[in-house]
Amino acid sequence: MKLLTGNDLKTGAVTWWTGRDWSIHIEDAVDVGEEGDAIGSAEEGARRVNGPVVIDAEATADGPRPAHIKHRIRALGPTVRPDLTLKPADPQAGNWVI
């Protein structure tokens, strides 16, 4: 599957295209197929995202999992600061990244 991701213009937060708008939670991301670049351009033009990029991912029972570790770290937060990740209470969160 392919995901569309970028950063929020004002906050810089990592965001994922949900099919309607943007979410900071990768679980909300949808497969954009071949439409990602067009959606990204339109959304960037509307200043709802900064630096949109289409990435490869796999669908899993827990939701989309980016193919590259860089985007898994983007999705969760720094692996060395679990207290600052989106799942600070989940001891298994780091395993998802690695």
Binding site: N7, G12, I69, V80, R81
Partner: protein
């Protein structure tokens, strides 16, 4: 330390308001990201993996308590309660919101800090020996010259659109604590037989994809001519630089391609030409600046005795303090390398402790080191115990300066959008493996430096043991290097062979270190043994 005059303050305040307007226009949609990016980079604002990152310049690594407290305030108010000291004596905030940046910069301007020229193709923050003005082995404080150069070059039109970034480093001691030969221009303050001050000038150094060690191009540049000599260097680079190829734009490539003799000849020719223009600032301007760096009013008649009856304190004193030029004083190094911690990270509360200690015990001075530690440069030996007790309470009393766990590591893939692999977890695993202090002390000076990509912010080329993280088909892989140095015996580390996964490189580091233990002679550091026996015994142990 230097204090802004009305012009300095006006310049910085005006810059804040200019950027406030640029941010407003970007958010309102009057600028695209392509238009905005070069403007934000000129104000030290990057877009990293998780958020915007703001890099604040700390000229020659010197901070006063008000500045340290402002760094703490920003960490607490606008970020997540901590920040990160970099390998170029700057500070980075990793969780910044674009819309708040103008207010943050306005806060910093109140204490004479800014983010100007901490990114982009400009002269970056000028770094210096963290012991400058305090070290027993220096001939004079080099920081007034660094400040003069900073002032003359900041916003100088000739240096505003350079081919690529450009880095100066200063020292005034024979022992190099500023890694001067790893900079575009490294400057060592020296004194000639006539008692005149001048600079040894090294040019063409740099790390990154193509590492080069700077070569000596002038043994004595009169101090009063420092600016025009540096201008000549920059002009020769500007004239020839490969602006068409990002991988060939740094000055080190030009020096290598021209050859140091030809490069030097052209610099000298340009220098002779500039001499006719009278470009150097008048001596009175240097004297004005130097007055801000007058030594603090050290007490005289102090004892050099230290009560070492507390064994933990004695360990800290032996490892974390250095000789001061004034009798009865010491330089105190504060480790930011807690075992299992994140090197260079410091919390807002810890910053406040450092500011309080600097104010009470160090004539209001704090220094940042390129090895990502902090220094109180002027502490009475009689006060060291009180300082140590406060550091213990703040979790800042680790004992590991220049030991195997005093690891330089870039933020790596945990934060940086350029990185290919994580650096911090590798540093943490190595530190845990070698946590035992007796073992660390037995190994002696051993500098491990880790970069998460070829840009080498973690100085892996200069590590006694260097580690470079690379991306191998989407997974992290680590190359091991041996034999580098950023000190006065500067050398370039060499790759041992095939890379490793994260756990594998930690094991390989231990094998290299155990090989050293087996081969060393009395008094030999890891680096000395490596230089004596060469790579082979290490390779055999690691891959055999």
């Amino acid at each position: 330390m230097y204090r802004y005059d009305q012009y300095d303050q006006q310049i910085v305040d005006a810059r804040v308001e200019e950027f406030r307007d640029q941010v407003k226009r970007r958010i309102a949609g009057h600028m695209t990201e392509d238009q905005f990016k070069p403007l934000r980079l000129k104000n030290g604002l990057y877009l990293q993996l998780h958020a915007y990152m703001l890099r604040i310049a700390i000229p020659y690594g010197t901070l006063n308590p008000a500045q340290v407290r402002m760094l703490a305030h920003v960490a607490r108010t606008y970020d997540r309660g901590y920040a990160h000291f970099t390998t170029r004596q700057n500070m980075q905030f990793h969780w910044i919101k674009l819309e708040q940046v103008p207010d943050i910069l306005a806060d910093f301007a109140k204490v004479q800090l800014h983010a100007i020229q901490t990114s982009g193709e400009s002269i970056r923050n000028i770094s210096a020996d963290q012991y400058a003005g305090a070290a027993a082995d220096e001939i004079a404080d080099p920081r007034p010259w660094a400040e003069l150069l900073r002032q003359v070059t900041t916003f100088h039109p000739e240096f505003s659109y350079l081919p690529r970034k450009f880095k100066f480093a200063f020292t005034a001691a024979p022992g190099d604590r500023a890694a001067i030969r790893w900079h575009d221009v490294g400057l060592r303050l020296v004194r000639n037989d006539a008692g005149e001050d001048g600079f040894e000038v090294y040019a063409g150094g740099g790390m990154g994809r193509t590492p080069f060690i700077a070569e000596l191009i002038r043994a004595f540049c009169p101090a009063d001519r420092l600016f025009s000599y540096c201008q000549a260097i920059l002009r020769v680079w500007n004239r020839h630089a490969r602006r068409d190829n990002i991988h060939k734009q740094r000055m080190k490539i030009l020096v290598h391609d021209l050859g140091v003799e030809e490069f030097t000849r052209q610099v000298e020719e340009e220098f002779a030409h500039i001499a006719t223009l009278g470009n150097d600032p008048p001596r009175a301007e240097f004297d004005r600046i130097a007055a801000y760096f007058a030594p603090p009013p050290f007490e005289t008649g102090l004892s050099d005795e230290i009560d070492r009856s507390d064994p933990d304190f004695a360990l800290w004193v032996d490892r974390q303090t250095a000789a001061h030029k004034a009798p009865g004083y010491a330089i105190a190094n504060i480790s930011l390398k807690a075992i299992g911690g994140i090197g260079g990270d410091i919390t807002a509360d810890q910053m406040d402790v450092v500011a309080d200690l600097a104010e009470r015990y160090s004539f209001g001075e704090t220094r940042v080191t390129h090895a990502q530690n902090v220094v109180l440069p002027h502490v009475r030996k009689a006060d060291l115990y009180a300082v140590w007790q406060a550091l213990v309470a703040a979790g800042l009393a680790d004992v590991n300066l220049d030991l195997v766990t005093d690891i330089i590591a870039c933020p790596g893939l945990d934060y940086c959008s350029l990185a290919n692999a994580r650096s911090i977890p590798v540093a943490q695993k190595i530190a845990r493996r070698f946590a035992d202090l007796e073992r660390q002390q037995d190994l002696g000076e051993l500098k491990i430096k880790i970069s998460g990509c070829i840009n080498a912010c973690g100085h892996h080329h200069a590590g006694h043991i260097g580690i470079l993280g690379v991306d191998r088909k989407g997974t992290e892989n680590y190359q091991l290097l041996l034999g580098g140095s950023g000190a006065e015996d500067t050398t370039l580390a060499k790759i041992t062979g095939p890379g490793f996964d994260e756990d594998g490189v930690v094991d390989a580091v231990e094998k290299a270190i155990e090989t050293y233990r087996g081969l060393r002679t009395d008094g030999e550091r890891f680096l000395d043994t490596y230089r004596r026996v060469g790579m082979e015994p290490f390779k055999e142990a690691i891959y055999g």
